[in-house]
Each structure stands twice: as C-alpha cells, then as structure tokens.
C-alpha cells in the first residue's frame, strides 16, 4: 500500500492547507479569539501532521501489506449498481415509490445473475409492498408518489 499511502498523505496535506486558508474567512473580529475558525484550523494542523506521518511511514517501508485487492470486474459491477440506484431515484419521482422499488430490485437481482424469474419477481414484489405498507400506513412517513404508487 506504499503508493496509496503516499498519495493519500499528499492529498490530505493539500486538502488541509486549503481548509486552513478557507476557514480564515470565518474569523470573528471582536467577539472572541476562539471563533468558528478555531477548531477547523486545529483539525487541519493535526491532519497535516498525520498526513506527513503517513507519507514518511510509507517512505520508510512501514506501510501495511494489502490483504485484499479490488476485483476490476466486481468494481465495474459495483459502479453499474450505483448507476441503477441513481436511475431508481429518478424513477421513484416519476412512477412512485413502490413501483420504482419493484423495478429496481428486479433489475438489480437480474444484474447480479439471480436464477429463476419467479423468485426475482416474488422477492422484489413482496419487499417493495411490505416496506411501502409499513412506511405509508404504519409509520405514516410520506414517500414519493408518482403516476402509480
């Protein structure tokens, strides 16, 4: 993880320098010294020290060895599932909560290669209706309503 640690350390240094500068605009003029900028600045300095320590630790060869690696295909699968979720959020506004949820669950289960169309339809349908009923009638929490429900 040497490269990753150095990268994260440099990123943290830049981020904290920027935060330290940016929060300067919150500095109170007369009220008291320990204003809204005080704590973010303290944290920025501490984080800069930790970032520097991470870089030095990595350069000294003390970085932890990676126990797990990201599977590229799995990573793409994850990104696509996030895309499906974003689509679901838009669809929820158009179709309504329960119907969009059914479509989302069915698509995601199919995408994850769950066998048996009946199982996919039933588990998607039951989950969406049960949660919709609990929220709408039992907890009385307003859910997005669209063309359907």
């Amino acid at each position: 993880m040497k490269k990753a640690d150095i990268g994260v350390g440099i990123g943290l240094l830049f981020l904290c320098i920027w935060i330290f500068w940016y929060v300067g605009r919150y500095r109170p003029v007369e009220v008291y010294f320990y204003g809204p900028d005080f704590f973010p600045r303290v944290l920025s300095v501490v984080m800069m020290i930790l970032g520097l320590a991470l870089i030095l630790n990595a350069l000294a060869g003390n970085s932890l060895k990676k126990t797990e690696t990201i599977d590229p295909r799995g990573f793409i699968r994850m990104l696509i599932s996030i895309g499906i979720c974003i689509g679901y959020l838009f669809l929820m506004k158009i179709l309504g909560f329960a119907s969009a949820t059914f479509i989302f669950l069915f698509i995601l289960m199919s995408f994850l290669k769950q066998r048996g169309i009946i199982i996919r339809i039933l588990s998607s349908l039951i989950t969406s209706i049960v949660v919709w009923t609990i929220f709408k009638y039992f907890l009385i929490i307003p859910l997005p309503e669209g063309v359907f429900f």
Binding site: P40, G74, L89, I141
Partner: protein, 504 residues
C-alpha cells in the same frame, strides 16, 4: 435509585403487549441480521432507526435495544453452523462452536449459545440498571472542561478501534471530526464549509452518514465479490442441551458474564474483545484447557455469556456519560438524539420516563431472545441459506430508504451514497470506518466544550488539568491510548510472526 420509577417502568414495559411486540420485532430482526455474515448489529440498528421515527420514543428505543441484543447473539448461529461469524463478536464462538457443528452437535451448540447469551445479557442488563443512575449522579457535577476531558477520553478509543494501523485510525477520526464542522457553528451561528448550499446548513445528517459508512460500503463490497464468493449451506439437528450440561458450564457463564459486563463498560472495548477475554479466562481456569478448541460446550458458553454481558455494560457509559462503549452504542446514542434525548449525565435525571423503560426493555429483550432463539432456530438456519443475490439488493434498497426517511430528502440519499463510496475505498486501503462514527458522535461535544472552556479560562489550557475530574479523564484517556497502542503493536507482531511461520 428511584425504585418506584424503576418498578413503574418495568410494569409499563412488561405488561404492555405493544412494547412486547416491538421488542420481539427488534430481537428477531437482530438475530436475522446477526446470523447473516457480512451484516453487523451496527448496520442493523442503523437501518432500523428510520422505522422508529414515528413511534413513541420508548417503543422505538426498546426495539433498537432488542436488535442490539439479538444481533450480538445472532452472530453465534452462523459461527456454529457455517464457521463464519455473523458479527465480529461471535468470532470466538467459532473456536468450539464450529467444531461441535462438524461433529453433528450444531443444535446443541446453538442451544448452549442461546442459554449463555440469555444469562450474560440478563446479568449485564441488571448491572446496567443498578449502576447507571449512580454513575450519572457523579457526572452531574461536570462543567465544560470535564465534558471536553470526557470527550477526549472517548476519542482516545479511536486508537483501540483502529484495527491494524493506529495512524490510519487517527486519520479516519480527524476526518470524521472535519465532517462535523460542516453546517452552522453552534456557538456563533456562522455557516461553515457549506459552499453556499442550503442543504448543508444543517450539517451532514448523522443517519445518512451512518448508513453510508456501514450500509452502502458493505453492500458495495458484497456486489463486488458476489459472483466469486462460495455459497455455504447450513444444517441443524438436536437443539436443547441437557440439565447436567448446563450445570457443568454454569460457573463459566457467571464468570464470563461478569467479565463481559465489565469489559463492555470500558469505552472502546466492545463485545468482540469481551468474548475473547471470557474465552481466554475460561480456558486458563479450566481443568482441561487442552480440550478448548476441540468442540466443547464450555468453549461456546464462555464467549457467548461474555459478549452478551458486554451489551449491558456498553450501555452504561453511553447513557450516563454520553460516551459510547462501542460502535453499536454509538449508533444507539445517535438514535436517542434523533428522538430528542441527549445522552449524558442529565438524561436519567431529566427523562426517567425514557431511561428506565430502556432498562426494562433490555431485560425483556433477553427473555424474548431466549424464546425466539430456541423456538426459531430452524427458521434462522434457513435464512442463512438465502442467496446473496437476493439479500444484497434488498439491503441496498433498505439503505436508500433509510437515508431518505430522516428528512425525506434525496440530497441525503446522495450524501449517503458518496460516503458509502468513500468508505468502500477506505476499507480497501486500511482506513477503518468506526473512528469516523465515533468522531461524528463526539465531535460537537469536543468542539463546543473546548471553546467554552478556553473562553471561561481566558485562553489558559491549564483549566483542563487543574480541575480534578477533568484531569482524571485526561490521564485515564492517555493511559488507555498508551495501553491500547502497546496491545495493538503486540497483536500485530504476533500476527506477523504467524504469517512468516506459515510462509516457511
């Protein structure tokens, strides 16, 4: 202790079927979540919180407490049946539980785990009930410097929960504190780091952040690995252990429950450490230590009584001091805040009508856990067999609903997704998520009391060491940090040695 209030609370909770229903739902959901590998009690409580918004606070909170207890117990089911701990706290149960399972004694092992969990949980809940009010009375004398010192002590736990790298744990913790800076400054009302966004004025809301950290990140990992992980099937025969078997492990259960409760009450330790320490002590004091690890009932009873004892213990500092004992109690602390109650010394004094029913609810949860655990064992064993391709999308959906329901905001769902992606990468690069959670809880307490104290003392930091209680917390905090540092270092050296021996 106000005994009349306690008795009234018990009658209110125990005699009301509605309360019983919510505890039942919480415990059952907890056992399911705990039994499913990859889902933790922390995640379960986080996902259940949105379902409690519209409930009476007591009903919502006892349901969450039930989930906490059920979740810690539920981990033992998968540990025994398939050799994978459902929750980290059940890792010690594998050592003998899975061995028993291999011998065809899985039912008996789960039966013993259920009894030991019940015993440990009840013991811890009783200690919590009688000790918390006394501790809260002492804590009532606290001022800003003491609260800062307390929060400092709480943040010291970051080192304990940092995993393999303390440095990365600290970075996660500071990152969490930085997140709490977003939104209105509570002392001056000045909006900070909002970049003109009106949605960010109220800050990053706790529940979406929590679901991002512990919900989405696990879902993303699950989706990434879903096609490569093997499906493990579970089997179950014979259930309830015999009376003489229970008698033979009774002493171990008492000792483990005591150890578990005490360890749980020390902030930063948690149920997993309690389980391992209880197992270690049972083995050390046993007449036949060589039999541990071969599949004996004592090896199942010890960790289970220990980790469930720790549930009650972990609630003590959360309710009385406002410092969570572990990650799950940190989430429960957030739930209390959402329902309008600020955990800390004033909680018991100002809201006895809420705190005492929680005590009663926790004791009731143990009995429900015993009944549901023994009665529904075959059902839970079946749940473990549900395909991940069905469960993962459902959990994904519950994460979306959970992050939306707090403020009915799609913005929160977006924030939660982003935090989930960050937490997913953090996990791969060895940055733990729990310190962020702790920082989100303690951040406002640290900042406000630090600034108030410095204003009172005109900028003189000696205020923190000249007041005895504050000084005591800071010294204990530093002591905990140093001992945790050496403990982690020792564990890492041991691990490295083991790996190098395995390679040879």
């Amino acid at each position: 202790m106000q005994l009349d209030i306690l008795l009234e609370a018990f009658s209110k909770v125990l005699l009301n079927p509605v309360n019983f229903f919510f505890v039942f739902i919480g415990v059952t959901a907890g056992i399911i979540v705990g039994a499913l590998p990859g889902l933790t009690a922390t995640m379960g409580v986080a996902l259940l919180i949105p379902f409690t918004y519209r409930l009476e606070p007591v009903q919502g909170l006892i349901m969450l407490v039930g989930l906490f207890c059920g979740g810690i117990y539920g981990g033992s089911i998968s540990a025994i049946l398939i050799g994978i701990p459902g929750t980290p706290s059940a890792a010690a149960t594998i050592l003998d539980g899975y061995e028993m399972g291999k011998k065809g004694l899985a039912g008996k092992a789960i039966g013993m785990a259920t009894l030991a969990s019940f015993f440990g949980g009840t013991f811890g809940a009783l200690i919590m009930t009688f000790c918390s009010p006394q501790l809260a009375k002492i804590a009532l004398k606290f001022g800003p410097p003491e609260f800062f010192a307390l929060a400092f002590f709480g943040l010291g736990i970051i080192i304990t929960i940092s995993g393999k790298s303390i440095l990365k744990g600290l970075i996660s913790g500071i990152f969490g504190l930085m997140i709490t800076m977003i939104g209105y400054d509570p002392l001056s009302g000045c909006p900070r780091l909002t970049f003109g966004s009106t949605e960010l004025l109220g800050g990053i809301t706790f529940i979406p952040a929590l679901i991002g950290l512990f919900g989405y990140s696990q879902v993303f990992q699950g989706i990434e690995k879903i096609l490569v992980l093997p499906t493990v099937k579970s089997e179950l025969k014979h259930i309830i252990p015999k009376l003489n078997e229970i008698k033979s492990v009774f002493k171990t259960m008492v000792k483990s429950a005591l150890i578990g409760t005490f360890i749980g009450a020390v902030p930063g330790t948690g149920c997993d450490i309690a389980a391992f320490v209880s197992y270690g002590e049972a083995r050390r004091s046993s007449k036949n230590p060589e039999k541990f690890g071969t599949g004996i009932l004592e090896g199942v009873a010890a960790p289970e009584a220990g980790n469930n004892g720790a549930t009650g213990g972990a609630m003590i500092p959360m309710l009385t001091l406002g410092v969570p004992g572990d990650a799950v109690t940190a989430v429960l602390m957030g739930a209390l805040t959402i329902h309008g109650f600020q955990p800390g010394p004033l909680l018991i004094k100002d809201h006895p009508g809420v705190v005492y029913p929680i005590f009663a609810g926790m004791i009731l949860a143990q009995f429900v856990m015993l009944g549901v655990g023994l009665g529904g064992m075959r059902f839970f064993a079946r749940i473990i067999n549900i395909d991940r391709r069905i469960m993962t999308p459902i959990i994904f959906f519950l994460c979306v609903v959970g992050s939306y329901a707090m403020r009915f905001s799609f913005f929160d769902v977006g924030v939660s997704l982003i935090i989930g992606v960050i937490a997913y990468f953090m996990n791969y690069y060895g940055f733990p998520g729990s310190p962020i959670l702790l920082a989100l809880i303690l951040g406002p307490m640290v900042e406000q009391n630090l600034r108030r104290s410095l204003i009172i003392s005109h900028g003189n930091p000696s205020i923190f060491i000249t007041r005895p209680i504050s000084a005591a917390f800071i010294i204990i905090g530093i002591f905990v940090m140093i001992t945790s540092y050496y403990r982690i270092k020792k564990a890492m050296e041991k691990e490295e040695k083991r790996i190098s021996v395995e390679r040879k």
